[in-house]
Subunit: 465 residues, 2 copies
């Protein structure tokens, strides 16, 4: 449907809802809201609004609905698939001012918060009370809990603790027409009507605007230890990963870095690790409530790695050593992307197929004349494949990239995997969605979108083309 422009009368109405200071139409003011972490894409909205309350969000949505103006919700702007980009202009609805932690309940072990709370701020607040919110996306220092809900953010700890959806009890959601619905409850078990909570989690801001979040929490495990294990081959590293879980060990993280990834990361950090020239490294963390069990599990995993011919097992029992190893792992993303213009893919496959995926990516990139560096969350099969432009011409890059990505995703799907594990489809991954979903499956999703957003105003043209 045709969208209407944001006219001065609409801006005035938005100002009366949110206050003059929180409605911007000047280009410098809107600049920070015109891009996220997705490549170098820039789209300016026509107006930025920064509501403070659910009632203000409802008023903004009602106003947009009445005037056929598209609305793009935005959290921390750290998305990697362009979900927060206002590609049709319209209203950019930033939740950054809705950033209060409303309740931390140590008896029921749950928390209630507004969606603009930074993930790390929430984690530290609950940890101060002896509690634990496990999901830890790489951008936790700047992403918001609302954005995490929208994208169903993951991170290393998903291997043991699951992803954002596993920690969300309930949501307040403002629908595209301004209605407020409360989904879920404060209970683990709940079959009181459809599971709307899990429909909204991961819906990338296309079905409603989340204005309040209730999360599950657990008691903070007091012990945590880390291993870095170097392997001469990927096959050995990834066979070790499969066997760790098969034996019933539940590491709180089981990360994978291929040689090129760790080498650029240690170069950037000026750090050293043993056998940085090994083809593959695993960074494994074990946490728990019993120090002996944590140590014994770490030991058993180390022995298992040696059975799989690990070149070196480095134990980090002290927080300082652990931080160094994690700093290297966390540096991979930025270090790899600093090399060149890039396109990051976020594939996920069953654990046992990671090695097939990795060797397949090597063959595909070679065949298509492109370069890729991989690292990611081996414990849950989620591998980030960074395709680098390097010294290719723009023409070659634009020619070869889509074919390479398509071939990689076709391999992923053939292995029982999916084209996005934690970054979402957003704007940039839309062309590839039909590789993973049939037209009937896409139609069912579109039917839900049309039922809940009949005018197609909320984050339009995301997920689906």
């Amino acid at each position: 449907m045709p969208y209407k422009p944001v006219d001065s009368e609409t801006v005035a109405a938005l100002r009366s809802v949110c206050g003059d200071a929180y409605v911007m139409t000047d280009r410098p003011g809107m600049e920070p809201f015109s891009h996220d972490y997705t490549e170098d894409l820039v789209f300016y909205p026509e107006v930025v609004v920064r509501p403070r309350t659910t009632a203000e969000v409802q008023a903004v949505m009602r106003l947009a609905y009445a005037r056929d103006i598209p609305v793009t919700p935005r959290g921390g702007g750290t998305g990697l698939s362009g979900g927060a980009l206002p590609i049709h202009g319209g209203i950019l609805l930033s939740i950054d001012r809705m950033n209060a932690i409303l309740e931390i309940d140590t008896e029921n072990m749950m928390g209630v918060l507004e969606p603009g709370v930074i993930t790390q701020v929430y984690q530290e607040a609950v940890e101060a009370q002896g509690l634990f919110y496990p999901p830890d996306p790489a951008s936790k220092g700047s992403c918001t809990m609302g954005g995490n809900v929208a994208e169903c953010a993951g991170g290393p700890r998903a291997a043991k603790y699951g992803v954002t959806r596993d920690w969300i009890y309930a949501l307040d959601v403002v629908m595209p027409d301004g209605r407020l619905v409360r989904t879920g409850s404060q209970c683990l078990k709940d079959v009181t009507g459809y599971n709307l909570t899990q429909l909204f989690v991961g819906s990338e801001g296309t079905l409603g605007v989340v204005t309040q979040i209730t999360t599950r929490l657990m008691t903070l495990p007091p012990f945590r230890q880390t291993l870095l294990i170097a392997f001469a081959t990927m096959e050995q590293a990834l066979a070790t990963v499969v066997e760790i879980f098969r034996r019933g060990y539940q590491p709180s993280a089981c990360e994978f870095m291929e040689r090129a990834a760790i080498q650029v990361a240690i170069a950037q950090k000026g750090a050293k690790v043993p056998h940085a020239d090994a083809e593959a490294q695993l960074l494994i963390e074990v946490d728990g409530f019993d120090l002996d069990l944590v140590e014994n599990t770490l030991l058993a995993i180390g022995e298992l790695a040696m059975e799989n011919e690990a070149v070196e097992v480095t134990v980090a029992q002290q927080p300082g050593q652990q931080k160094t190893l994690w700093d290297i792992r966390r540096a991979c993303g930025e270090a790899v992307k600093s090399i060149s213009i890039y396109k990051e893919e976020d594939a996920v496959v069953p654990r046992k197929h990671i090695v097939t995926l990795m060797r397949g990516v090597q063959a595909i990139t070679k065949e298509h004349g492109i370069t890729a560096i991989c690292y990611g969350h081996a414990g849950d099969g989620n591998i980030h494949i960074n395709i680098l432009k390097m010294d290719m011409t723009d023409h070659d890059w634009n020619e070869r990239l889509p074919g390479g990505i398509t071939a990689i995703f076709e391999l992923v799907v053939s292995l029982g995997g999916r084209i996005s594990g934690e970054h979402g489809i957003g704007y940039t991954q839309r062309p590839y969605l039909p590789i993973a979903l049939s037209s009937d499956e896409l139609d069912v999703m579109r039917q839900i979108k049309a039922a809940l957003d009949p005018k197609g105003l909320l984050n339009p043209d995301k997920i689906f083309i």
Copy 2:
């Protein structure tokens, strides 16, 4: 919309789809499909079909869709809210012949199966391979995995392992018009389009017919021990429950029985337990991969119970002793229901509010002149409230019951809880749904139903009135 009757030509068409032997219209043949475990409700379908394959289910659905005939899917028929009752006649679609386990993958730790597989059969099959499928509804010996998916079944182990939804990776679903969609993948992380899997889980057979299920599995924990703890007061018992979780212990079951429940159960079983006259008993199970940790956790929970003035802590380390205790717990449901005509409610509240709920139920039943016996899953706040007719007249029962139930559910919702934790809304709980959900929330659910089942043919008039 007006439903059309099943005429002889339709029956002939169904016979040509499923085979003569698997289409029944005679009353004795249809009798087993005319009721489930919900009170004494009986509704006969016009025809029973028992397809063997997804393609047959698709053909049945297409046929029903073209002829405006309602279809009610049915698993094991053990539902407690009437979800499988063909209240409008039409076609009863039984999945009992779709009962093959297709794959158990010990490396990726997942299983693929048809929906008619009995839950316990699946559990035993995966355990034979050293794997574990935790959800264990009380009816596991006769309920089906398809029914478990439809109702998002729970059970005691949810306290540690979550409910059915937490173990479902992917579904094949036949839509009301016969389209087949595959939701999810074989991966823990997946944000490739909307989370249709979790929309279908718990949708009580109103949005689609599940014809294939992919579940997560984990390594079977080899150690398991059990405690029965008697308390003089509910307050002491339930304070112990809150503290168990607060301290980070993760019992694999934490069950609650009030005095009347355990007394009828031991009478039925001819069993004995210490202090059967105590007001409340907790049955606690701890499992794990490390025997020392299991034993130490059990010990610590026992000590914690003594701090909370437990009357007696009985340890069951041997499987035989454990079975006796679990037999008593499992007998509660049947024993309580054998006393009298009954109505069972399936409330769930945050753990710390269970005691307020229990005392509230006592006050409400007294005020309304009714009798209730309670037991359930204290670890996740899910309490089964069995209201008994006893020697009340039919008139008094019909007069007093709705008011009593309404008062109980209003209390539940005021405590942040929900009116069904694991039994679903189905047919019998529909009148109470507006206590838990606003009209906007119901409307959003109805919009989804209308989008996916525009003719309203699939399990009509369930969940919503």
